[in-house]
C-alpha cells in the first residue's frame, strides 16, 4: 500500500509540475489562473497522500484550508476580473 501511495504522490507531483509549465507559459491571465487552480488541486491531493505516508493527520487540515482558500483566491481573482475587464 505504501508503495502505491508513494507512486501516486510522485504522479501528483508530476501533474503539479505540468501545471507549473502552463503557469509560466501563460499566455493569458485566465490560463495562468486555471493552471494555478490545477496546482492547488494537485497540492491538496499531495498533502492528503503525505498525511498518510508521513503519518501526520494534521496535513488533512492543511489540505482543507488550502482547498477553501483556493476558492477564496479564485473568487478574488474573478472579482477583480469582473471589475477591470481586462487581462
Amino acid at each position: 500500500m505504501s508503495e502505491l501511495l508513494t507512486v501516486s504522490a510522485l504522479g501528483l507531483m508530476l501533474s503539479l509540475f505540468l501545471g507549473l509549465l502552463r503557469v509560466v507559459r501563460g499566455p493569458s491571465t485566465g490560463d495562468r489562473m486555471l493552471a494555478t487552480q490545477l496546482i492547488g488541486t494537485a497540492g491538496v491531493g499531495l498533502l492528503l497522500l503525505l498525511s498518510l505516508l508521513l503519518k501526520q493527520t494534521a496535513l488533512i487540515d492543511v489540505a482543507l484550508i488550502l482547498a477553501l482558500l483556493a476558492a477564496v483566491a479564485a473568487a478574488a481573482f474573478t472579482g477583480q476580473q469582473r471589475e477591470t475587464g481586462d487581462d
Binding site: 501528483l12 508530476l14 492528503l48 497522500l49 488533512i60 482543507l64 482547498a67 476558492a71 474573478t78
Partner: protein
C-alpha cells in the same frame, strides 16, 4: 479487499489528474483547457478522497475529506464560469 478498492480509486484518480494536466498543456485554447481541466481535476480529487476515506479512522476525518472535495468543486465551478464569461465578453468586444 478495502485496500484493493482504495488502491483502485487512488490510481484512477491519479489518471484523471494526469489527463487533466496534459490537457491543460496540449489543448489549443482557453475554452477547451477549461473544460478538460475542471472535469479532470474534480474527478481526480474526488476519486482520490474516496480512496483515502476508506482508510479514515473516524467519521470526522471522512467529513473533512468530503468538505475538501466540495470546496475544490465549488471553487473550480465558480472560477471556470467567471473565466469563461469574461473571455466571452472580451471576444465580443474584439
Amino acid at each position: 479487499m478495502i485496500d484493493a478498492m482504495s488502491s483502485l480509486l487512488i490510481v484512477s484518480g491519479l489518471a484523471f489528474y494526469l489527463a487533466g494536466s496534459i490537457g491543460l498543456l496540449r489543448l489549443p485554447d482557453l475554452y477547451s483547457r477549461l473544460h478538460a481541466l475542471t472535469k479532470a481535476d474534480n474527478l481526480g480529487l474526488g476519486l482520490l478522497t474516496a480512496g483515502l476515506a476508506l482508510h479514515a479512522q473516524d467519521l470526522f476525518v471522512t467529513l473533512k475529506l468530503v468538505l475538501i472535495w466540495l470546496a475544490v468543486l465549488a471553487a473550480s465551478a465558480a472560477s471556470a464560469h467567471l473565466i469563461a464569461q469574461h473571455a466571452r465578453r472580451r471576444e465580443k468586444q474584439s
